[in-house]
Amino acid sequence: MKPLHHFSAVELTESFQKGEVSATEIAEYFLERIEKHNSDLGAFLTVFEPRMLQKAKELDEKRANKEPLGRLAGVPIAIKDNTHVQGEITSCGSKFQEGYRAPFSATVVRLLEEEGALLTGKANLDEFAMGSSNENSAFYSVKNPQDPTRVPGGSSGGSAALVGAGLSLIATGSDTGGSIRQPAAFCGIVGYKPTYGRVSRYGLVAFGSSLDQIGPFAANVGDIALSMGVMGRFCEKDATSLELPQEHYPLSQDLSNVVFGAPYHYLEGLRDDVKENYLASLEKLKSLGAQVVDIDLDILKYSLAVYYILSTAEASTNLARFDGIRYGKRAQTESLDAIIDRSREEGFGAEVKRRIMLGTYVLASGYQNAYYTKALKVRTRIVDAFETVFNTCDAIAMPVAPSGAFKAGTIREPLQMYLQDIFTIPANLAGLPAISVPSGLCQEGMPLGLQIVGPQLSDTSVIQYGYAFEKAVSPLPKGAFYE
């Protein structure tokens, strides 16, 4: 039998259900891998050793008793540490929340556990999901499993790195402006941001509520389909959850009659090697029977400015609750006012402070029309532009990020870091489903991704297109941690 971390989640649960491997063996195997690699990789903030072994024991007993096991039975899955798992720490990568134990589980966590998932632990992230390199974690930064001198991307960098290194087969992430897709591309794995409202946000610590969406990471698209079949459910505890029938995400390699839009003009200025890889990806789509047409999405050049107004405005409001009074780290001082000011000073890192201040600025009396309302109107124009484009194509194919994973410590200017998200932000602004699938290597030998974006609710098609594309690309090298 091949090593367990070389199994897909689909294969592993099948193998467990057939009795070829026990859940306890799976749990022990992955705990050992985590123990061996996490101190070098930094991908986990918490490891659920007792919880995992207990769950494995229950699964083995269920199997022995021939009880129903669930679609994810025995699959090791990590949870981004801004999502609640009852009784476990939710740090959000912040000193403010160090030691905070979740009083309830997020809906996605409940759904995964109900289907028999073995939760492995909590994945490191940029503080409050604000960052594109995982260098903003208050605890330690995550390394890219393909090259530890490079970043894994962010903000769900821990989730991407631990799947890339084979420390879990699936991980959850949250994607506000690219936080699933960009790290997936950087680590050479698949990341999926569902249609806004497809996956419940209940139990996710909010960053930009109109943009945040939880989604899965996996080594292959088949496992994304498996996990979305479990996670994509209506939830009455999330006011923006869509009441839709549960999807099953069938997979097929046929792309005949599928039309992809390529926003060539918007992509001018792309680095040569990234452009070459992108054009080669379009050729692969064509070789699978798809048609590729030129589309006009020039309005997307305003996405970044719109995003950093709206997401910071929403963040400044969402993070107002962190005051050191009811939970979180309380500064030791004399007065109530000083507690709030000092707790926030000591608890938040520099990037979080920057975004709260920016968000407060754009909402401040006198500036709100110039920034916030203006951005909301440009958002309408972006949503409309996508709608128009989807009259002429079924999905859009574009790069995930302007480069492959960069060296840690090399991007210091915040605006330069924000530009990492330039191709991923538009899907969040319009609430669209988007998948990032490995597409080859850049000139430095790091993975690149192709992003496929579909209309709202086209999750099934986007995942299917991603599957077809994945089958046409030669598998990428996995890096030293994986072997």
């Binding site: 905070y100 305003y302 979180g328 000011d341 926030r344 201040m357 605006l415 609430g431 709202q456």
Partner: protein, 107 residues
Amino acid sequence: MRYPRLPMEDLDRKTLDYLKRLCRIQLTDAEEKDLGQSLKNILEYMEFLKEVDTEEVEPCYFVLQGLQQEHQREDVPGTPLSRETFLANAPDQIGGMVRIPPVMGGE
């Protein structure tokens, strides 16, 4: 459309102090220097939006227009988490409540 004069050149100590008050955040000297400059750069970048024509365009507050069903739960009490559960993360508590320093004068 007319824009208020943005205090770009005066994203100075006065503006930062005002923002700090609104955000309830104190900054170290190093953070203040770094933040002042980066906020200025980011706000300058955002000026770019002015060139987009948004006459007659409605603001987009919510992206799921038309997709979301009207669902409101029954107006019946649920089972909330217990007081102990809520208080388990409180930094300080007394008699089943969150404890804070006195807010009235001592005399």
